[in-house]
């Protein structure tokens, strides 16, 4: 297996998107030695693709906003199975974290009086999203990256972790390989923060890059940590559907925030047809009222296009299935129509949505200032993740922390747009802070050399099987994506999900037999074979959790259980590895929130 290079840090952060970077910055500020491992080059993580904005109740645009409204919006959006304490911390601390980004050099769009501008977004009562056109994620990751490189953080680029190492109960390190040379590395650490993002590559149509293979979820699971809410996958309502090669690429909710409307083949604004009861009093009655809201009229209520993502995605699916879709199997998203209302609409659209303009112009030959877009749902985000303690982001295994998309709890059954970027910096900071505190109080553990050798042997198995006769990893990955898309998608049934679990078992057998060609140096076939293991683990967790939750809530819609169940309204699903190595699901009760939070929900929720 050759040499295995060793590194030692107090805190090891795995993943360098917004959450990982923010955690690393906070940990290093506490004076501990920090290593930051990322699967791609620094600054390329999935955060870069976030478009619409960062939700924070700064109240710069509407002074009625405050953390309580943000908290109530988040809980309503998550259908009240969120971790209420996380939702509270998030709403309270997001404004400070956004202002902190500005002090680190971020340049947000401005209000007329020179403060941070905020825009409308789905499920948020007031304009709340600090943004930079439609490239807010780029601004955030670049700000954190450029601040972080001066903090003494050691960054290991293009390094992938394959297994966490434990000493007794606690995690004490990780075994990884570098992409460039394929050499193994051991990272010794007193505390580990997982910030590996999502699982979108488990599905065929996704906005996620190759990296979103659930690495953190799988690493934590195999290290004995609990996962929570894994059934809740967010299908973003608006992904590109045409041409086929760009299918799934995200179209920001900011388009609707700026006045974009959804129409079907009959030209009807179908979102007016189905408004959920709990949003009726917040939603406009007429297109005219909706437009006034977009313009900032404080009396007007928001247009139904800005209902929560789970609901909008289902309405779009309904239109398509009932034969009222667009020519390429989506519906129409129209921002060009605002020219009826605005004389300079073309310049306005290009200024507020520059990368959407660019993306459609270059990839689909469509000028969004003049033509309608075709859009449909795309797998975007997982609400579920590693179960953590709200204040510290500590997982259920000592020494292990999680934040960002791979952490679970804050979003409940559905995440509001814009709450992800704020979650990254609020909970990322806390994860880094508490990982550093833990590391300062803890002695280094011992890593079992035999375990390290075993991890390396396992990682190299695909080479032993070679590439000439064995099946390659891409075919298995593709079949998994097809199965998950068809059987554990937006509309689910028990029978289909049982079939999915059988499929996953068969795919796992195939995955154990895949072979790779070539050598260890920068070999994507090998990397895909290793990522596939993680994808299978998270896919099983998603299917098992979804099967167990016999109700429809938020992002989970069960055709065989189409209503909400009050019992499930007070419970989360926990996934963990049983003693015999099988995956077990446990329904755990949600504790009642304290009276002062309940009062906020009762008043505004």
């Amino acid at each position: 297996m050759g040499e295995c290079i060793e590194f030692e840090h107090d805190v090891l952060v795995i993943g360098a998107g917004g959450a990982g970077l923010r955690a690393a910055i906070e940990a290093s500020a506490a004076g501990v030695s920090v290593g930051l491992v990322c699967k791609s080059m620094l600054g390329k993580a999935h955060t870069v693709m976030a478009e619409g904005g960062i939700a924070a109740a700064l109240a710069n645009v509407d002074d009625r906003d405050n953390w309580k409204v943000h908290f109530a919006d988040t809980m309503r959006g998550g259908q009240y199975i969120n971790n209420w304490r996380m939702a509270q911390i998030h709403a309270q601390e997001a404004p400070d974290r956004v202002r902190e980004l500005e002090s680190w050099g971020a340049v947000f769009d401005r209000t007329k009086d020179g403060r941070i501008l905020q825009r409308n977004f789905g499920g948020h009562k007031y304009p709340r999203l600090a943004h930079v056109g439609d490239r807010t994620g780029l601004e955030m990751i670049r700000t954190l990256q450029d601040h972080g490189i001066h903090q003494g953080i050691e960054v290991y680029m293009e390094v992938t972790v394959v297994e966490l190492m434990k000493d007794g109960d606690r995690v004490v390190g990780a075994v990884a390989y570098d992409r460039e040379r394929g050499r193994f590395r051991i990272f010794r650490a007193k505390a580990i923060v997982l910030a590996t993002g999502g699982v979108g590559r488990a599905y065929q149509i996704t906005s996620n890059s190759w990296e979103g293979t659930g690495d953190g979820h799988a690493l934590a699971y195999h290290a004995g940590a609990d996962l929570i809410d894994m059934e809740f996958i967010q299908f973003h309502p608006t992904g590109m559907v045409w041409p086929p090669s760009v299918c799934g690429i995200l179209v920001t909710e900011g388009v609707r925030g700026e006045g974009g409307i959804l129409t079907n083949s009959e030209g009807r604004r179908f979102m007016f047809d189905d408004i959920p009861d709990n949003y009726k009093d917040q939603t406009a009655d007429t297109p005219e009222e909706g437009w006034r809201y977009v313009l900032g009229d404080k009396i007007a209520r928001r247009p139904p296009e800005l209902l929560t993502r789970d609901h909008v995605a289902r309405c779009i699916v309904r239109e398509i299935r009932e034969g009222r879709g667009s020519p390429h199997g989506g519906v129409f998203l129209d921002i060009a129509w605002i020219k009826e209302k605005m004389s300079d609409s073309e310049a306005h659209i290009k200024r507020k949505l520059p990368s959407m303009y660019h993306q459609f112009k270059q990839l689909a030959d469509i000028d969004i200032t003049n033509e309608r877009m075709e859009v449909g749902p795309t797998t975007h985000y997982i609400m579920g993740g590693i179960r953590v303690e709200a204040d510290t982001q500590a997982a259920t295994v000592p020494g292990l922390y999680a934040c960002g998309e791979c952490g679970g709890g804050i979003n409940g059954a559905n995440r509001l747009g814009g709450n992800s970027l704020s979650d990254l910096i609020v909970l990322g900071k806390r994860a880094g802070e508490h990982a550093a505190i833990y590391a300062l109080e803890t002695q280094a553990g011992r890593i079992d050399e035999a375990r390290v050798e075993a991890a390396q042997r396992t990682a190299l198995r695909a080479f032993d099987r070679g590439g000439s006769e064995a099946e390659g990893p891409y075919a298995v990955q593709n079949d998994l994506q097809v199965a998950m898309q068809a059987l554990v998608g937006i509309v689910r049934t028990g029978d289909e999900m049982r079939t999915a679990l059988e499929e996953i078992t068969k795919l796992r057998q195939r995955a154990e037999e895949v072979g790779v060609v070539g050598h260890r140096e920068y070999n994507p076939g090998w990397h895909t074979a290793l990522d596939l293991e993680n994808l299978l683990t998270v896919s099983e967790a998603i299917a098992r959790s979804a099967l167990a939750r016999e109700e429809s809530r938020g992002a989970q819609f069960r055709k065989d259980f189409p209503s909400k169940d009050p019992g499930w309204g007070k419970a989360n699903n926990v996934i963990r590895k049983a003693r015999d190595g099988s995956m077990e699901v446990e329904k755990v009760p949600i504790h009642d929130m304290p009276a002062e939070l309940q009062a906020i929900v009762d008043e505004m929720g």
């Binding site: 050099g105 090669s245 140096e521």
Partner: protein
């Protein structure tokens, strides 16, 4: 459905050659789709970087038919399919394998640029006021996705290999974003002149031409920085007047927005 031949460079630091792969072309396809299809079906170990597939992350830089492009934004319908499409790695950095190059120098060089240093906050809550007109030009620079195509075509790096004395267009754009940031108070002019070699740029504008984000690199970032350096270090009148002034040299004539 038509088909196309891709002539992809494969090899490593010791050498390599072009290999031909034929693949089907579907509507709307981009070069990255073809490369990934070839990777999945014919050459599992073909090395290339990509992430967002939408021109937002700047990972998939390569030279397509000799032109520096993001593979994800390079439409097949814009390329002649009657002859092989060549895809090769960018040239200004050492090869790792196939289409991947060692771009770590960019990260090392960036770290040497003095970090953002804001003035004291305008308000007690630690916030500032900035108006949109003042941030527009900085926002242009901050659109940069760090694809390093500008570094790739800059002859100072590509032909003359002056990586030790010159930071290249990307990092001038980065410096300009800091220097023109309304809140920044740091002074980077001496670094730009000496260690970062801005004088080597002779404004051929190749960088601007290849920028996938349409940043006007030369006119809006490099030339204003050059002017500031010239004003500071070479303007005879300013040099003369400075001798009679007790205060520190300012950051450049006509530049009082800080």
């Amino acid at each position: 459905m038509s088909s196309a031949t891709f002539r992809i460079w494969r090899g490593n630091v010791e050498g390599g050659k072009f290999h031909d792969f034929s693949t089907e072309v579907s509507e709307g396809m981009v070069v990255l789709d073809a490369v990934r299809r070839i990777q999945a079906e014919k050459a599992n170990d073909l090395a290339c970087r990509w992430n967002c597939k939408a021109g937002k992350c700047g990972s998939c830089s390569a030279e397509v038919n000799g032109m520096p492009r993001l593979m994800c934004m390079c439409r097949m319908s814009d390329l002649p399919l009657d002859r092989p499409i060549t895809v090769e790695p960018i040239k200004a950095f050492p090869i790792i394998k196939d289409l991947t190059t060692d771009i770590s120098w960019n990260y090392v060089a960036k770290k040497k640029i003095r970090k953002f240093k804001p003035r004291a906050p305008d308000h007690d809550d630690g916030t500032w006021n900035m108006v949109q007109d003042d941030v527009d030009r900085v926002q242009e620079f901050r659109k940069c996705i760090e694809c390093f195509l500008c570094q790739n075509v800059c002859h100072v790096l590509r032909e003359h290999d002056l990586h030790d004395d010159f930071i290249g267009p990307r990092l001038f754009v980065y410096s300009a974003a800091l220097e023109m940031h309304p809140l920044d108070t740091e002074d980077r002019l001496e670094d730009l002149k000496k260690a970062q070699g801005i004088g080597y740029c002779n404004i051929t504008k190749c960088c601007t031409k290849v920028c996938p984000e349409d940043i006007t690199i030369t006119d809006n970032a490099i030339i204003p920085l050059k002017e500031r350096v010239v004003d500071r270090f070479y303007d005879p009148l300013a040099m003369f007047l400075r001798r009679f002034r007790r205060k520190k040299p300012d950051k450049g004539v006509g530049e009082n927005t800080k």
